[in-house]
Amino acid sequence: MTLAEMNFFQRMLYILERYSGSLLRGAATTMAIAILCTALGCVIGFAVGLVQTIEPQKKDGAVKRGILKVIKFILNIYVEVFRGTPMMLQAAFIYYGASSLFNINLGMWTAAIIIVSVNTGAYMAETVRGGILSVDPGQKEGARAIGLTQSQSMLLVILPQALRNVMPQIGNNLIINIKDTCVLSIIGTVELFFTFRSISGALYTYFEAATITMAIYFILTFACSRILRWVESKMDGPSNFDLATTDMLAFTSGMTKYDEKKGGTH
């Protein structure tokens, strides 16, 4: 039976039989890039977002204030440029630009990881800034009032709460990255979308290949969104708490048993 004689389901089965290996490899590549780059992007985003929220202290001199201002300005440019241009063009720009301008061959993988992380970082920076600003200022005052330093207050009190605030957005970015890694096919990264194009190109079965590939994308994103929900609920801790009753004084009445023969009130 040739492809033309098959019906829709038979063609899907045919694709799955012949290409399940490459599809799985493509999906794994997509997931690996998405997870790694979201993680790196979060690190970049937290670093940049944190710097953006630093207020100059009163005792800081003019030099320190100036340096802070310059750094903030540069970071602002980074955020605006990477948020404001398509990632597909950024990929081409960095990958081809590195080789033609500086004669550096980044390699497809390095280029792919840099582009997606840096792009995610630009979005995360604004998210983290918002996450930090949305933590009640009283939390910082409480931390400072018991003698924690500026950085201790940040690390122990503010950032954990900011992280919780931005968790939904991290999940959002992971899902966006799973889908958007498809633009990396422009520099030849063999991920899920690239696999789809190879299959449809080889067999001319666009509809069937697209259906299968879409289903795989959906399974990946849906699984991630559920897992992240679960992580969020873990971060919130249980809605109930145990009263601490290890105090022996609290056990005195409950530990003795009623003895029928002896009688008594207890």
């Binding site: 005052e141 409480g142 931390a143 009032a145 018991i146 003698g147 924690l148 201790q152 708490f241 601490a244």
Partner: protein, 245 residues
């Protein structure tokens, strides 16, 4: 009596708005000072200046003779000695009750885990919150939160505790439990500086009362002097609103 804090000619401006105008007073060991006065008279700002949460515009705050405003004292070390209890509790939402009381001891005072835990339990027991050590702040009532906040401040073994309207954000039925804890604390000889609207507390518990009006100390004296024999017209007017109303 040992003088812990001496405030001299303290001035605080917010832009053109003068909130504190030339404040002078001293805090001695064992003092329980209530600061009363109408809203906007600068009471909370005064307390926040003493804790360095606000930068004073002018004047000096001497801690054992060293001016904290001129960098004579390490800011963070100073704050471990002069604790603060806030109107809005400011418990760390990401930690349990016990962790709230431990974290400052561990990181600011570098105490061992065991010592910090023991201290925290001791003070949580004193405020009657030792059963709730595993709870998160959001699971507690306002009064319970404030008691934990007091235990958190006490666990640092401060020399002075500042209370910024500790009962103003509470439901009326919870005010009592917090005031009880504070009265007990006063009896143990803790040095306290309390901004409050609870006139009964100011009259019955404190050793000295400061009445503030319009950014200045209008009158200062023993509770009897202020409540029985107020000299200033403004004090009389302020107090009459509480006794008649």
């Amino acid at each position: 009596m040992e003088e812990i804090l001496k405030i001299e000619h303290l001035v605080k401006d917010f832009g053109t708005n003068k909130v504190l105008k030339d404040i002078d007073f001293s805090v001695y060991k064992g003092d329980v000072i209530s600061i009363i006065g109408s809203s906007g008279s600068g009471k909370s700002t005064l307390l926040r200046c003493i804790n360095m949460l606000e930068d004073a515009t002018d004047g000096s705050i001497l801690y054992h003779g060293k001016d904290i405003l001129k960098g004579g004292v390490n800011e963070d070390a100073y704050r471990t000695r002069v604790g603060m209890v806030f109107q809005s509790f400011n418990l760390f939402n990401n930690y349990t009750v016990l962790e709230n009381c431990i974290i400052g001891q561990r990181y600011a005072l570098k105490r061992s885990k065991e010592e910090a835990r023991e201290k925290a339990m001791m003070y949580l027991k004193r405020v009657g919150m030792d059963q709730y050590i595993n709870a998160k702040p959001r699971q507690l009532s306002g009064g319970q939160k404030q008691r934990v906040a007091i235990a958190r401040a006490l666990a640092m073994d401060p020399e002075v505790l500042l209370f910024d309207e500790p009962t103003s954000a509470l439901d009326p039925e919870m005010v009592g439990e917090v005031l009880d804890v504070m009265s007990d604390l006063a009896k143990t000889g803790m040095t306290m500086l309390v901004v409050t609207h609870e006139m009964a507390f100011a009259r019955d518990v404190s050793s000295r009362v400061i009445f503030m009006s319009d950014g200045k100390i209008e009158e200062e004296g023993s509770p009897d002097e202020i409540f029985q024999n107020p000299k200033s017209e403004r004090t009389k007017e302020f107090l009459s609103r509480f006794t008649n109303g």
